[in-house]
């Protein structure tokens, strides 16, 4: 019993003389990255009542559990070193093609139909690929009618993709109506370039 106590006491002394572990205060981290086109957006970091905006590539912030925000700066190399495996696990980025309709039809122009081959190639090299077809209209007519028209255009493109051999179960469709014109116009202006569909593969 006594020897056990002595051992315990000695152990306590030894442990007390161990140097403290290196200070590694737990901190949450945020790193803003440049986007694929070379631009950079922004993130607003909020913690403990404070707020910082990160708006430059590799701007970073550390946040302590009590909510203190400390700004830092990372580099492409430091991000790669710490987060390389994470970044390598990202899904492939979506890609999109814009296709146009023959005048007053839901039939794609011959030129537009040439993208089908490229879509098939893209699908073949992606994990669990999915396709979205989003139809658009120009600003002639009522918003509600254009919503319906743009959905019909998207559905028509889906049919043509299926005819070309693509799996309908992988394709969803939606209409954006006149909300997202490629070319800005006043209301009620006919604009062929806005009568289009976007086919994106993700």
């Amino acid at each position: 019993m006594t020897s056990a106590l002595i051992v315990a006491a000695l152990l306590a002394i030894v442990l007390n003389h161990q140097p403290d572990p290196p200070p590694a205060p737990p901190a949450d981290r945020v790193v803003l990255l440049p986007d694929a086109k070379g631009g950079t957006g922004a993130v607003v970091v909020r913690a403990g009542g404070g707020e910082r905006v990160l708006a430059e590539a590799y701007a970073a912030a550390e946040v302590s559990p009590d909510g203190r925000i400390t700004e830092r700066r990372e580099t492409a190399e430091s991000v790669r070193a710490r987060y390389g495996a994470l970044l390598d696990a990202q899904p492939p980025r979506p890609v999109a093609w814009t296709v146009y309709f023959e005048t007053a039809t839901q039939r794609l122009t011959a030129e537009s139909r040439t993208v089908f081959g490229r879509i098939k190639e893209e699908i073949a090299r992606r994990p669990a690929p999915e396709i979205s077809v989003v139809g658009h209209t120009d600003r002639v007519g009522r918003v509600e009618d254009n919503d319906a028209l743009s959905k019909r255009r998207a559905d028509a493109v889906k049919s043509q993709l299926v005819e070309a051999g693509l799996d309908p179960a992988r394709i969803d469709t939606a209409g954006r109506g006149e909300r997202e014109p490629l070319v800005s116009t006043a209301d009620e202006v006919a604009e062929p370039r806005n009568r289009r569909a976007e086919i994106s593969v993700r």
Binding site: D28, L32, G41, V44, R46, Q90, A128, R202
Partner: protein
């Protein structure tokens, strides 16, 4: 139809909820490495590419695990090793681009490439840990949670 009884209201609610659930998953698992579990309503399943991801799902990665998912609005979410990511809320309307995204990283690391939701409705997109909340203005970033467990 002026007085729809409470039973009728409940039925309508069930039908609407059922339709919403069946119509659209939040997204799809695209990449999986190592051990990754999807937790949904108390059930656990091993993640595999092609699996749908739904709002309220929780993704848990092991020490060698990572998972990449693409949401319907083209937001890309990737969780690194030893991570727990809860997709608390998600909805996306492909016609209006309205909706909501609320993701809570409880531990580990998360890489984000924001999508159409952040572009159209940045105020309704939120990423957080136990101590930080991020607002997003169309961008790519990494979030790491060291404090949470």
């Amino acid at each position: 139809m002026k007085t729809l009884g409470s039973a009728g209201m409940a039925l309508v609610a069930v039908l609407v909820a059922g339709e919403a659930a069946a119509a659209d998953a939040a997204g799809t698992v695209k990449t999986v490495r190592g051990a990754v579990t999807v937790e949904r309503g108390g059930q656990k399943a091993a993640a595999v590419p092609g699996m749908p991801v739904e709002a309220a799902d929780r993704l848990v990665t092991g020490p060698d695990g990572s998972i990449g998912i693409t949401l319907r609005d083209q937001t890309l979410l990737t969780a690194g090793p030893n991570s727990t990511l809860a997709l608390e809320r998600y909805s996306f309307n492909p016609t209006t681009h309205g909706g909501e995204l609320d993701a809570h990283l409880k531990r580990g690391s998360l890489a984000v490439i924001s999508g159409k939701l952040a572009k159209a409705s940045p105020e309704s997109v939120r990423f957080r840990t136990d101590s930080v909340t991020l607002g997003v203005r169309g961008t790519e970033f990494i979030l790491e949670a060291s404090s949470g467990q």
